[in-house]
Amino acid sequence: MSESNLRLTPNQEVILAALRLHRRYGLEILAAIESNGGKQIGFNSLYPNLKKLEKKGLVQSEWGDEPPEAHSGARRKYYRITAAGIRALEIKQELLAGVAAWRPETEGA
């Protein structure tokens, strides 16, 4: 997987973090983020971001066992993080750790 595919936007990062330990459906991801006081992702941006992550191979989806919703006939999908998704999160965390630890080289030392 190319390096650019592992780059994450802040929203994608928090979505991946929500999926790190459990498979979840969309509303559950929002609830997980919100109940932990995190930045609330706009409802309308959650699903486009999930699809982008899926296209990049960072998450994969599977149909839930629940029956289709009575009015719209829509089914529920569960999302699960992939190994590449975990790697993308690790890269982000390494970057943050690297930024925190960086010190300028002392001149003339």
Partner: protein, 312 residues
């Protein structure tokens, strides 16, 4: 939340099911919208909850429609490029020769694509420069028959840096025409390699037309002998076209060339065409960046690194 909201959700579902591929991908979004209504009711007043619910449904519907449109466009472009590649295929060539040819085509594509993107950047820069200098000139320019020539003379010889600004405006305008025309040629040469050139192609042609229009409307703005007589001749040519008298009326504001003509030309030049050219150059550059990004995914690393293309 009333029955109407539920009915709206049903209708949105019916609409989305018209596009099976998109529905397959995004139906869980609609389910989430419907499932979220109870929470909305608890959090907000009935009116506001209903408003948010409807907004979410509307956004979903628009998104689905946009995705369906995009898929249809991609499919049709894919079919067109498939047909073209079938026509271009030479059956007698051996496999090795075909691979080499394919690499050469990709290499040519890369060069043409990169040139086109750079030209689009240059066009936008010139357009911006012409706009900024144009605004500066507008501070002193008087679009009247009596004042036009005198005000330009004052800009050129009396106002600080006026000559520099006027020259930059002229150079940017003329440079823009040249680049827009060169760009059309570059895109024409690369047409068989370009995947989604339609936006870039059409915006490029419109940009070239807008720049020529800008140059033409500037003829009379100098209000000198050359400009006046040239405009008079060209206006009479326009007048002889079908519906020419109407066009002449719109462009010149009557049969004579006077202050009204100057004001018409000034408005067309400074507001309509200048804004159109700026918008078109932005669209044109955006289209090229997207094109280059999609192309860079398949290009060998040695031709262009993904870092390079992603930062343009």
């Amino acid at each position: 939340m009333n029955e109407k909201d539920i009915e709206l959700a049903e209708r949105t579902g019916q609409f989305a099911r018209r596009f099976p591929q998109v529905w397959q991908e995004y139906q869980d979004w609609l389910r989430a919208i419907v499932s979220s209504r109870e929470e909305l009711q608890q959090r907000y007043s009935q009116g506001l909850a209903s408003l948010i619910f409807r907004w979410r449904l509307l956004y979903f519907g628009l998104y689905v429609a946009a995705m369906a449109g995009r898929q249809a466009l991609v499919q049709s472009l894919h079919q067109v490029s498939k047909r073209q590649s079938k026509r271009a295929a030479v059956p007698v060539l051996e496999q090795g020769a075909l691979t080499t040819q394919s690499l050469q085509i990709k290499r040519t594509h890369f060069i043409l694509q990169r040139i086109a993107t750079l030209l689009a950047v240059a066009e936008l820069t010139l357009c911006g420069l012409a706009a900024i200098t144009g605004v500066m000139l507008a501070f002193y320019y008087q679009p009247t028959a009596v004042g036009a020539h005198a005000s330009l003379h004052a800009i050129a010889y009396q106002i600080t840096n006026g000559n520099l600004i006027l020259s930059l405006h002229n150079i940017a305008g003329n440079g823009l025409i040249i680049l827009a025309l060169v760009q059309i040629v570059v895109m024409f040469l690369g047409r068989q390699f370009m995947r989604s050139w339609l936006t870039a192609w059409i915006s490029g042609i419109c940009l070239a037309l807008a720049t020529i229009g800008l140059s033409w409307t500037a003829i009379i703005l100098n209000w000198d002998q050359t400009g006046f007589w040239r405009f008079k001749i060209e206006l009479s040519i326009i007048g002889s076209l079908p519906a020419g008298s109407f066009l002449r009326e719109v462009l010149a504001g009557g049969s004579a060339i006077n202050t009204l003509t100057l004001q018409h030309m000034y408005t067309l030049h400074s507001y309509i065409l200048a804004i159109a050219a700026l918008l078109l150059s932005v669209i044109h550059l955006t289209a090229h960046i997207f094109q280059e990004k999609s192309w860079a995914q398949t290009a060998p690393e040695s031709w262009c690194s993904s870092e390079d293309t992603s930062t343009i």
